[in-house]
Amino acid sequence: MEVMWHASSFLLPQPQPQEPREDAPPPPPAALTYALIVLNQRLPRFAPLLWNRAQLRVCADGGANRVYDDMPKLFPDQDPQEVRLRYTPDVIKGDLDSIRDDVKEFYLNLGVRIVDESHDQDTTDLHKCVAYVSGSAPVEDKSKLCILVVGALGGRFDHEIGNINVLHRFSNLRIVLLSDDCLIHLLPKTHSHVIHVQLPVEGPHCGLIPIGAPSARTSTTGLQWNLSDTAMSFGGLISTSNVVKEDKVTVSSDADLIWTISIKKPIKE
């Protein structure tokens, strides 16, 4: 089975160039291209870090209000308008029933593309944005694209579940949902997984959750309570309040699993 690797290096400050060392570990897998989608909830405190990593930034409807209102708050000693000009999305997309008029006008005047999709009531805002990013991102090989999403967790539960279902519907894409407290992403059953835990910024609390269908057999290494061909299901065992013990965690399963890991506070830019 093919191996899929994961690393939350988007949470690290930009790496500094270093002299190569004799004992240096092998170079990491080829760098990913990041896109950022902002949904309509308060921005996490590390949103600027993600923004700076991303090559494409999309606001889903009221996510534009959040960027407009919250980015200046993350830079309290700077002029709010200057912050807004620095953090201008590339596209605002969705049914546009949440974006404020003043926010819409501000971004229109800056030339931001605003796409009204209110005719399409069949898919959620996140679904529309992921489809757009997947089609538009400046990367030919989709396995090198990683879509970071803020504002997908918390709030109305049906929105949160709808957002998790987007991970399942686009299971061939790397999509990471982030909040101030944690991140989640899918580990598709089609691959075995290697997770390089970025210990300065994430962990130690973690979990593996079989959302949508039970697992008859899951095995892990690198956790405090490893699984060994263990069955997991709602109504039975699911792996929560687990702890990463090593900086490399492996997971292989017969079912799609949601991996979650806590984010350490504070994340420094």
């Binding site: 959302i211 699911i238 929560t240 799609d256």
Partner: protein
């Protein structure tokens, strides 16, 4: 499959009358319920005093005691804070006691709260332990008339939230409702057909049905804007989110356990004089 659904003639009725002030609940509307309240360690919803007033048994899970101690007085800013703290004393505080502040522990212990230290049991999460406790305490009651209300189960760390959702499945023979400021969640077990009597002054219209434990081959509903009719639901494909209640009574019949969620209207009028 069709014959199995026809055999599920047992009907389970649901009504969020705990969101109404006691005085507003009419005799015909009310499904006689005895309530317990479990407070987990997250910011309490603004209507927590209303839930407290309905509950016969009030349990704080460890740091949930801090949340009552700090949070309830803030909901009554014009009242004497110490008086409020004396009025809202949990019956039980249970957990591994690594989050409750020492002064909060002492305050409630002196006022008669039963403190149950669980720290030797690391196998299950706080909510599971509290529900087990309630199950033991209420074995004499008819479980169909007993309902456990839970605050603080959603948000925060996702693995905690998943463990709390799992409690609904593990204790599927008990009525448990998870509540936040935004919404409520309950399990609709596949063993029953369900009637949900919508309290439209306090809940709706946004709702959803999710097969998180496993797919549904056939689910049928009435009373929703986008009703399901022998519809298949599974993750990776169609699940019912951003639906809306259209009638005062919603019915759900499914071959799979489903989570039902409905939004809450704010503010919830608590009708309390405190």
């Amino acid at each position: 499959m069709v014959s199995r659904l026809v055999q599920n003639t047992k009907v389970m009725k649901h009504a969020a009358t705990f969101l109404l002030p006691s005085s507003a609940v009419s005799a015909t509307n009310r499904l006689a319920q005895t309530y317990a309240l479990v407070v987990l360690n997250q910011q309490i919803p603004k209507f927590t005093p209303l839930l407290w007033s309905h509950a016969k048994l009030r349990i704080c899970a460890d740091g949930g005691a801090n949340r009552i101690f700090d949070g309830v007085p803030k909901l009554f800013p014009d009242q004497n804070q110490l008086n409020i703290q004396h009025r809202y004393v949990p019956n039980v505080i249970k957990g591994d006691m690594d989050s409750i502040r020492p002064e909060v522990h002492q305050f409630y212990a002196e006022l008669g709260s039963e403190i149950i230290d669980d720290s030797e049991n690391q196998d299950t999460n706080d909510l599971h332990k509290c529900i087990s406790f309630i199950q033991e305490q209420t074995s004499a009651f008819d479980h169909s008339n007993f309902c456990t209300l839970v605050t603080g189960a959603l948000g925060g760390r996702f693995d905690h939230e998943a463990a709390n959702l799992n409690a609904l499945y593990v204790f599927s023979d008990m009525r448990i409702v998870l509540l936040s400021d935004d919404c409520q969640i309950r399990l609709l077990p596949k063993t029953h057909q369900h009637e949900i009597h919508i309290q439209s002054t306090v809940e709706g219209p946004h709702c959803g049905l999710f097969p998180i434990g496993g797919p549904s081959v056939s689910t049928t509903t009435t009373g929703l804007t986008w009703d399901l009719c022998n519809s298949e639901m599974k993750f990776g494909s169609m699940i019912s989110t951003s639906n809306k209640v259209r009638e005062e009574k919603v019915t759900v019949c499914s071959d799979a356990d489903l989570l039902w969620t409905i939004s809450l209207k704010t503010p919830i009028h608590m009708g309390l004089t405190c």
